[in-house]
Symmetry: C2
Subunit: 236 residues, 2 copies
């Protein structure tokens, strides 16, 4: 408690924000990239509204969340992509040694929809995210062997698609995010986010209900086949 490293206190304070099961559950839920109300999160976590209110205070105060008040609602979301990336990295740390077997075909309901395709903060995950990443790699648009980066051909491909990749702040263009169900890296970063947004805007994917699960539409299947040669049968 004498000298130590001046960063130690700050690091501990940051980690403490995620070191509670309820707050951790909030962060994971918010990985879908959307804004939740305090009440929704309280119900999701199974705690009293008052309890969750205090948790939100800490998370917002710690800079992990931003809030937006509308009438009698308090909407809260992850502060930025950096926070989302951090939460992803933390959960990724857990997967390799988690004894959990590759999860069979249990929970075939909402679970399998999530496994087929979902959003992870602002990019695609699940089998859909993996399929897109693999297709990009196979076509020489993305390189994974020397890091995780778009190729020049990849930049052109995004341009031809009409996706604008400029104006991203200091956020890396391509980044690997470890998929939670597939245990394989998929495309995140500014390019992953832009691509996900593009698919949703074009109606190639739609969100299922209010969750983070997404499904490929008919026109989406056609587009993914034409653009990337993806066999969409496995995504149905």
């Amino acid at each position: 408690m004498t000298s130590k490293d001046p960063r130690a206190g700050a690091l501990a304070r940051l980690a403490a924000l995620a070191a509670d099961e309820t707050r951790a559950a909030c962060l994971l839920a918010l990985l879908d990239g959307r804004a939740w109300t305090a009440g929704e999160l309280a119900r999701h976590c199974g705690v009293a509204a008052s309890t969750l209110s205090e948790h939100l205070g800490k998370l917002v105060g710690g800079g992990l969340l931003t809030e937006e008040r509308q009438g009698r609602h308090r909407y809260v979301r992850l502060a930025d992509a950096r926070v989302a990336q951090l939460v992803e990295d933390l959960t990724a740390q857990l997967s390799p040694d988690a004894a959990e077997p590759p999860r069979g075909l249990r929970q075939s309901g909402a679970g399998s929809a999530m496994a087929r395709g979902r959003t992870c903060y602002d990019h695609l995950a699940g089998r859909l995210g993996i399929a897109v990443t693999d297709a990009l790699t196979a076509r020489g648009l993305l390189r994974q062997d020397t890091g995780f980066a778009l190729t020049d051909a990849g930049l052109d491909w995004f341009g031809a698609l009409g996706v604008n990749l400029d104006g991203r702040g200091r956020r890396p263009l391509a980044r690997a995010c470890l998929d939670w169900t597939e245990r394989r890296p998929h495309l995140a970063g500014a390019a992953g986010a832009a691509l996900c947004r593009h698919l949703l805007e074009r109606g190639w994917c739609v969100r299922i209900g209010s969750g983070r699960a997404v499904k490929v539409t008919g026109t989406g299947e056609q587009a993914l086949t034409d653009l990337l040669g993806i066999d969409t049968a496995a995504l149905r």
Copy 2:
């Protein structure tokens, strides 16, 4: 506390390991990549040996540290590069908003040696790390604009240098690590580690005392100039 996400508990447990100032100080100290004894860490953190013993138990039990017992000593180090990466990412999360001004020329003693050059777990950081990263990028061996990856020319360059990049597990070859003093990304990952090891083996860099600070030797200056065109004057 009812359903939540099954990952929430695991995430909270992981974060809790870093959520204590003393344990955080240990993790930061161990970022130098070397093995410390329990006593060294206790003195470094300013707590009783018994207290630190308990902390080590948790960190080892949590898989963040591995231990190696020799005689009456207990040597402990970060478990692997994944853990180091995680700690780096967490500290990087803090730097952008930390009000700390770009730290003037205070602590000109050991501090400035650290700013000149140091190791960050197993790769180079400080001005030296930045200089190497910039030089690699300027020479077209590393691309940062589309992610963070070696180019084909970069692969060749490493090969010509006699650095073997095979045999890395699932660890990414190139990865960006945010520098703590310079606030800029530098090369980490398997390539960064291999390069750092190479510089030390060839005697181009040597460790200063027992810390993580390193300095470039005379032959090292010549080599860095020849190989990468680095102006080593700024590193003295």
